[in-house]
Amino acid sequence: MNTIPLKHIIRAILILLLQVLVLKRIGLSTSWLWQYGDIFLYPVIVLLLPFRISRHYAILIGFVIGLIIDMFYDTIGVHAFALTATAYARGLLLAYLEPRGGYQLSMSPTIFSMGLNWVMTFTVFSLLIHTFLYFTAEIFTFVYIGQILLKTLITLILSMLVLIGYHLLFNPKS
């Protein structure tokens, strides 16, 4: 049992590296799509936390991971704001999406434990909250609601592809 936190920490570090060294660089493409979108894989660190982890820890982890991403993106507070909210919403979503038999508390929300459909639903709602709040905090006024929605939509689709791709490719068990 003791190996699970270590596994989560190593995975978190690898995903953070992938986010800031690879996915951030993809955003340097000048095509139309990238001007309005970004790829956020790092929320998966919070989404993949085991079911049994307390909400407090999830929220704290969300805040810290957000700040680390902020440091690399030079967007102080914006990612932290979005990911803290996502971590909080994770708890509500898990309660809402709870299957009849309940969760196996030692597991994580993965395809292995919950199936593809469940993971897609869980991920799309979490990412929607995350991207919407991210672009809201980035622009910091609802004057640009059209732009927020456009950026949210494009980023949501791109991130969703990468995130589900991650699930299918690595098929994490915990």
Binding site: L17, V20, L21, K24, G27, L28, S29, T30, W34, Q35, Y36, G37, D38, S54, R55, H56, I59, L60, G62, F63, G66, L67, D70, M71, F72, Y73, D74, T75, I76, G77, V78, A80, F81, T84, A85, A87, Y88, G91, A137, E138, I139, F140, Q147
Partner: protein, 270 residues
């Protein structure tokens, strides 16, 4: 009792969530106010070293290309220097040696961009030079084909700069042909264009006009080529033109840049 306890636990998670959100929002607002007391940014050692490591690996592939491009730039600069010296010598009285007349108000520090972004609302890039190398907040950063940004946060070995593609950036720029000047800003149009605002209506503007730095601020030397006019218009009954400027530098491909330090206090006061 058990229910009450569960309620409190639930409530405390919400409180923690609210507290952290307030902290995050404070950071966002403080940053927007451009306060200097921010502790997490990519000029820190951790992120700087990581970016540097990744950049070195990528650089290795482009060495030949980079060397060719730098040699080309060198040739152009040498040509410019020889021509300028020759012109100066002709203007100066014969008994005065050229060296005694040269002003040296500018110092140039070369740097390498190790991280960059163009698809955010407020873009930044990180360079591999810090206060150890003489970098200070507010210095201008120019690139081989134009201007790149203004130094913001300075760490020991790394610094971050506000990219020209940043809603906070305002650069004094002029039309080269007739020296009308205005503020160059980025309104998230796209990474290849900026807007030059506040050009008076009597100015004669043509599509294709060259836009250069005005030299009215001491961030950038005068006359650095920024780009060309793509189109221009007036809003309503305004007395000012807005010009859409196509940037000559591809900000997405920033690589070698030069930080400009303006040292001549005598000239500043004139």
């Amino acid at each position: 009792m058990n229910n009450l306890l569960q309620f409190v636990i639930r409530y405390s998670a919400f409180l923690l969530f609210l507290l952290l959100e307030v902290v995050a929002l404070l950071l966002v607002v403080r940053y927007n106010e451009n306060q200097k007391s921010i502790f997490v940014h990519s000029s820190s050692k951790l992120s700087g070293n990581l970016y540097k490591l990744a950049d070195d690996a990528i650089q290795y592939n482009n060495l030949q290309q980079t060397a060719d491009s730098l040699a080309g730039q060198n040739a152009q600069l040498k040509q410019k220097i020889f021509n300028l010296e020759r012109s100066l010598q002709r203007l100066l009285p014969a008994d005065k040696p050229l060296d005694s007349c040269l002003l040296e108000p500018y110092k140039i520090i070369e740097a390498q961009v190790i991280s960059n972004s163009i698809n955010q609302r407020n873009n930044h890039f990180t360079i591999d030079r810090g206060w150890k190398d003489g970098i200070r907040t507010g210095m201008g950063v120019i690139s081989p084909h134009g201007i790149a940004g203004i130094i913001d946060q300075v760490g020991e070995q790394y610094s971050t700069a506000i990219s020209v593609l940043n809603t906070a950036a305002r650069i004094s720029a002029a039309i080269k042909r007739n020296e009308y000047f205005g503020s160059l800003i980025w309104k998230e149009i796209d990474p290849g264009h900026m807007l030059l605002e506040d050009i008076p209506r009597q100015a004669d503007i043509r599509v294709g006009d060259t836009i250069v730095t005005s030299g009215f601020s001491f961030i950038f030397p005068k006359g650095i080529f920024i780009g060309t006019v793509d189109r221009f218009w007036t809003v309503g009954g305004s007395n000012y033109y807005t010009l859409e400027v196509r940037l000559h530098e591809d900000i997405a491909r920033l690589d070698r840049v030069y930080v400009v330090e303006f040292t001549d206090t005598e000239l500043t006061s004139k």
